[in-house]
């Protein structure tokens, strides 16, 4: 879940960690009631400051993604479907924004990007529905 955390990125590490958990929840990779690694073990594994993990978990708790159970650890909460959908939409918007920004740097218009996306989606669907002969 935490592969590729990048200390050199301008995004603070605690935000990167929190974001990985949100994505895992949104994509169904983790489910309600599952425990997150302890602060100590995650900090050791990622070689980050334990305070960074504490901050990430605090952030997730404030957003309602996880809950801290005293003496037991941090657990994924039972997210209502709506909240999960909301997180998925948020992710989609983020991806779209970064594609647009990258496109703008290369002088590509929104239209051109949309066309490309539509084409890719078609190609992808074509490939997955193709019946092997």
């Amino acid at each position: 879940m935490f592969d590729g955390i990048d200390p050199r990125s301008p995004t603070p590490l605690y935000e990167q960690i929190a974001s990985r958990v949100r994505v895992a929840v949104a994509s169904g990779q983790v489910s309600a009631g599952e425990a997150l690694p302890s602060v100590r073990s995650l900090a050791g594994e990622l070689r980050v400051n334990p305070a960074t993990v504490v901050q990430a978990y605090r952030e997730l708790a404030a957003d309602g993604f996880v809950e801290k159970r005293h003496g037991q650890g941090t657990f994924i909460r039972d997210l209502p479907v709506m909240k999960r959908e909301e997180e998925r939409r948020r992710r989609a918007i983020e991806i779209a924004r970064s594609a647009l920004a990258e496109g703008a740097r290369l002088g590509l218009s929104g239209e051109e990007l949309l066309d490309a996306v539509a084409n890719e989606v078609r190609a992808h669907e074509g490939a997955s529905t193709e019946v092997p002969s």
Binding site: G44, N49, R105
Partner: protein, 306 residues
């Protein structure tokens, strides 16, 4: 804020070649503080002053709230120290080195030392002179941690160690921090490594402190800008400081600026002045460190010329 280490106007001179001049440091308690500087900047000298190996000619040093070197014996009981070069008797075995150290520290935790032996994969009967650099590095860390220090001072602790051992050693240190909230002061020129876990950074060059800030703040404020039509804009009078300016060459009017203290609204300010901000590029800790150092040196040499 409580500080684990405080330097106030500390001065120390070694002949005419090198001096620490009015050095002021504040290392917040519970922080992991990265002490950066090029070789010969004064990192190890600063640490030797902390450890009471040298007496400052002026100024005050307080460690864990007590004056150094006056209260040194009391302070040292609560400090773990990994020096730049190991100072172990090479004829001793690992076990003997541990026993010697244990006898000097009343806070020594023998159980924890045994656990660390296993975790760091060290053999008690091994002779120190037959150990690799990596194994010696691990033993030094064990000796520093087994006193259950409130403050851990590491002078280039992973310099010259292979990546696997470096990882083991740092994981052990971070594990200790998670458990105890100890303060870590770590001097290194391996900036990328520090970027993973330091929450504070102090930069020293030629015996003087250049900056001391939370790492996030340091990284947030330093940017590389790509600008159009910036030719006429003067370098002074901007709300941020200009560390470097690569002027437009030839017909291309694109300038590159490296700035410190950058904030989002500054973009609008530049655009009002007729400049087009093409791109704002984030720098990582190492790039930021290098740019900052470069500009300080240029500034100093200008002052010297006057």
């Amino acid at each position: 804020m409580i500080h684990a280490i405080e330097f106030d106007d500390v001065t120390w001179r070694a002949g005419n070649d090198f001096s620490i001049e009015k050095l002021t440091l504040r290392v917040p308690q519970g922080s992991i503080y990265g002490f950066l500087g090029p070789n010969g900047a004064g990192k190890s000298t600063t640490i030797r002053l902390m450890m009471g190996m040298m007496k400052p000619e002026g100024g005050d040093i307080r460690m864990l709230g007590e004056s150094v070197p006056r209260a040194l014996p009391r302070v040292l009981q609560r400090v773990g120290y990994v020096p730049e070069r190991p100072h172990l008797f090479s004829r001793l075995t690992v076990k003997e080195a541990i026993d010697v150290h244990a006898s000097f520290h009343h806070r020594w935790d023998a159980l924890w030392a045994t656990e660390l032996l296993e975790r760091l994969d060290l053999r008690p009967d091994q002779q120190i002179r037959r150990m690799s650099k990596g194994q010696t590095g691990k033993l030094m860390m064990l000796l520093a941690l087994a006193v259950r220090p409130h403050l851990l001072i590491l002078d280039e602790p992973t310099d010259g160690l292979d990546p696997v051992i470096r990882r083991d050693v740092m994981t052990t240190v971070l594990d200790y921090v998670a458990e105890t909230d100890a303060t870590i002061f770590i001097s290194s020129h391996l900036v990328h490594e520090l970027e993973r876990f330091c929450d504070w950074v102090g930069v020293i060059d030629r015996g003087a402190l250049i900056t001391e800030v939370p790492v996030q703040e340091f990284k947030r404020g330093i940017k590389r800008l790509r600008l159009l039509n910036a030719r006429g804009i003067p370098a002074n009078g901007t709300p941020f400081s200009l560390l470097d300016r690569i002027p437009a060459n030839g017909i291309r009017s694109c300038e590159e600026w490296v700035v410190h203290g950058w904030e989002g609204p500054h973009r609008a300010l530049l655009e009002e002045a007729g400049v087009t901000v093409q791109e704002v590029v984030d720098l990582d800790l190492e790039e930021g460190f290098v740019e900052l150092l470069k500009s300080v040196r240029i500034q100093n040499s200008r002052e010297d010329d006057r």
